[in-house]
């Protein structure tokens, strides 16, 4: 899928089924309630790094500009801090909508403008699925060939500091089986797949 370079929004760029798809995502039910007030955009701490503001993403979704939404960096940069959701006057769960877009982009094989992001998300879920907890060294190894040398250097020094403070363990810690975490995880994964 290619991003549109046209300066005009044309009917053929829009996908009328997109909004129905969004309404079916968890958190997406109320998307048409948006009044475009801009509280989400004004509140967003990661706004500076995004190509579109969250408000614009919602507007584009209304219009059915599916390709533009799914190929935007906004959906990947959203840190899910929920500041926008707590302030939205219409009660929209914007981070949930962003997560839905991430899933949709991966399912539709839309390349993310930040190539690392989808891989990070995949690696993250895999590790959490395996142990029930995060294991940072393994995450770094999984992403080794995708990280630039300077970033690697930076991460290494960060890792060292975390290790000294006892925040980083070389052996992964696991959740006890009694928590039934893997069952919950598998159920959630299946549900996600079926959607």
């Amino acid at each position: 899928m290619k991003r549109h370079s046209s300066h005009h929004i044309k009917a053929e760029m829009t996908d009328p089924t997109f909004i129905e798809e969004i309404k079916k995502m968890p958190g997406g039910e109320k998307i048409l309630d948006c009044i475009q007030c801009g509280v989400c955009a004004g509140s967003c701490h990661a706004r500076f790094a995004m190509d579109y503001s969250p408000m614009q993403i919602l507007k584009m979704a209304h219009l059915g500009l599916k390709q533009d939404v799914l190929s935007s960096s906004t959906i990947w940069i959203c840190a899910s801090c929920y500041t926008c959701a707590s302030r939205c006057p219409r009660g929209l769960n914007i981070p949930a909508i962003m997560s839905g877009f991430k899933n949709m982009a991966m399912k539709n094989n839309v390349p993310a403008p930040i190539a690392l992001k989808p891989k990070f998300h995949k690696a993250f879920t895999e590790i959490v699925g395996k142990y029930g907890r995060m294991h940072e060294p393994e995450l770094q190894i999984k992403l080794l060939n995708k990280t630039s040398p300077s970033e690697l250097l930076h991460n290494a020094s960060l890792g060292l500091r975390m290790f000294r403070k006892g925040k980083l363990k070389l052996q992964p810690s696991r959740l006890s089986p009694a928590t039934h975490f893997s069952e919950i995880y598998n159920k959630a994964m299946n549900k996600g797949e079926n959607k």
């Binding site: 309630d33 801009g38 004004g42």
Partner: protein, 806 residues
Amino acid sequence: MKEPKIGVYICHCGGNISDTVDVAKVRENVSKLKGVEIARTYEYMCSKPGQDMIQRDIKEHGLNRVVVASCSPRMHLDTFRGAVKGAGVDFRGAEKKGALNPYLLEMANIREQCSWVHDNKESATEKATALVRGAVERVKFNEPLEPKTMPVNRDVAVIGGGIAGILASIELADKGYKVYLVERNPSIGGHMAQLSKTFPTLDCSACILTPKMVYVSQHPNIEIIDMAEPIAVNGSPGNYEVTVRIRPRYVDKEKCISCGECAKVCPVKKFSNHEEGLTQEKCIYLPFKQAVPNSYVIDKDLCLWFNKGVCRVCEKFCKGKAIIFDQKEETRQLNVGAIISCTGYQQLDPSLSKEIFDGWNVFSQYGFGLHPDVVTNLQFERLMLQGLHRPSNGKPPKKVAFVLCVGSRMDRGIQYCCKIGCMNAIKHTLLLLKAFPPAEPWVFYTDIRAHGKGYEEFYSKARDHNVKFIRGRVAEVVPNGDNLILRAEDTVLSKQIEETFDLVVLSPALLPNVGTGELSKMMGVDLGPDGFFLERHHKLRPVDTKMEGMYLAGCALGPKDIRETTIETMATASKVATFLGRGEISVSPEKAYIIQEKCNACGECIKHCPTKAIESTSKGVIINSISCTGCGICVPKCPTDAIDLKQSTDAQLMAQIHGTSMEDGDKPRILAFLEKTTAYGSADLAGQTRVLYSPNVRIIPVPSTGRVGLKHVLHSFASGADGVILIEGDDSPFREDNLREHVNSMKKELSKFGVESLRVASTTTTLPQYDKVVNLFQTFNDRISKMGRISPEKRQKIAEALAGGK
């Protein structure tokens, strides 16, 4: 009862009816019925020759009952009632002999609900016969009725002394009506007394308001009852009793000359309500300089004498000996013909916002309470009047942010627009620039709503003055030392803004005033989903309530500006003058009445009456025939059958049910009881649009579906019906949940007779939703056709049970 001599008149309606219904066959069928003296058909029954025909027959054949089978009674009931009433009157109106009481006429709707909705001539004729037969059976039990008249009290109670209450009082007092203006606060004037200037003309608010306040206080027809609130409303339209509780002022209004000596010596300070808490005043205070009545008042909650039993210094220094510490609370009864509620609004306040937004204080997001320089727009009005300054340091503010939509237009809590915030902020920017030209006003808006006369021009004026309008709802206001940092998105440029301001002015949402809910309960009128009073009709009766003689004006109905309030107030005053000006009110005779011998005063009916028309008195339970709207909800609720409804009596209803469903044949038949205004009108609309449905459905109008009790439904099944539908109008006092409960309880009883609950259906509808009505008719007919007819044995069993008085 005299032996009925019924004349039946069947209209062709110029083919509208006769093309689909064999009117000659109908005439033939019904002329055989017992009691029918004469049956005729005619091209146009409603025309003069048609009406003459009825009048002639009444005279010549001595008819004492008439049935007209034609179009909907919504169309021509009054025409034919006039015709039977006019029978025997010659052109000079002298000869009265032979005239029939108009209530001895019944109509069968064989056009909108028969010929226009069916296409099979045979079954349409069969149904038309059934409808006419129902009307014939019913008319046998009709009784002559006369509309009542009642004298009305010409006095008016106006609740609330803001601008709406003041103008309503003046308007009515000038017309010669006596007005009681009931105000909760020590002075009339309301919120308008707090304003500096008004948009879009920039008139000085006090200059246009205070002369009106003085006029009210001097008007011989107006009595101001201040510091008073209604605690009970009783009576009926034209004769209400309003009980008000008057709180003590502890100062004699007549003796106080407002010299202010008392306040000088009073040792207790409190925050001023009039100044929105920005400044302090003494515990004995004048609400504001131009207050009416212009008298001091003591705040009992803070006064040392009332709390600690010491002081009374003010008493010693009062020159006029006006202070009365032992003044007591009083109650007073006002007898009035009409009531106007002008209770106004309150601004969303920080403590309230927690309740409304599930524990979240919207104000804290905007730094209100965290920094003294975050103020509400009402506080800004006072800052302007005090001489513009920042509350924190007293210096004039240079950069001022106006934050719109604070708490308004939310998904939960307050969904509506405050309607004044935009224009008010624009006014403030211009006033700010005038008071302090180097100032830099910024307006953060969601949408600028400049909808009134001269408002768009006003907005343009502000833009001409280089006011910065930023389209974006403010994300947060954070105190930063002396100043405030405001963050928002400029949604037009799609850039975040982070700016430092000296003063931030919030436009909070407007809510119904404190006590609106209690007053609505006292008055017996409804509130809308927004908590404001609900008008009778959004377009055509915008200042009426569902209760006759009770009216509304101003922000009690919803947020609005002063101009709109004035317009509404004039409308209200005109409605009240029309209502009271007739001197008496005519009351339809179609009302419920108690059969005292059967009544055991259990009070069940009182609980269900939507208009509080039933009272338990020493003489037994009494229905006030003025307040009663004739809905008939109380009738089936009576466990001893001690209530009946005139012109929709049990006898009439039972006879019509029997007549409409009794014929032989193996086709299923469905009786649909439709509320006679909205739901019945909706079925008429289906006819006007020629939507076809099954002729098995036969409609009987009822005042409300609450009138239809178990007995009627059982009687329907015993008489030959195979299904029963109840449809209520959505504006009825018998609401959807009442209807559901009513039907569910009937279904339970029906199952005891082996009648499946699927044989009863119900819904509510608005007038234009005729497709909903027709859909129900069709799906229900399919269902009943599949289920088949009820066996004669079962019908026999039900009939026996009914006869046995169960």
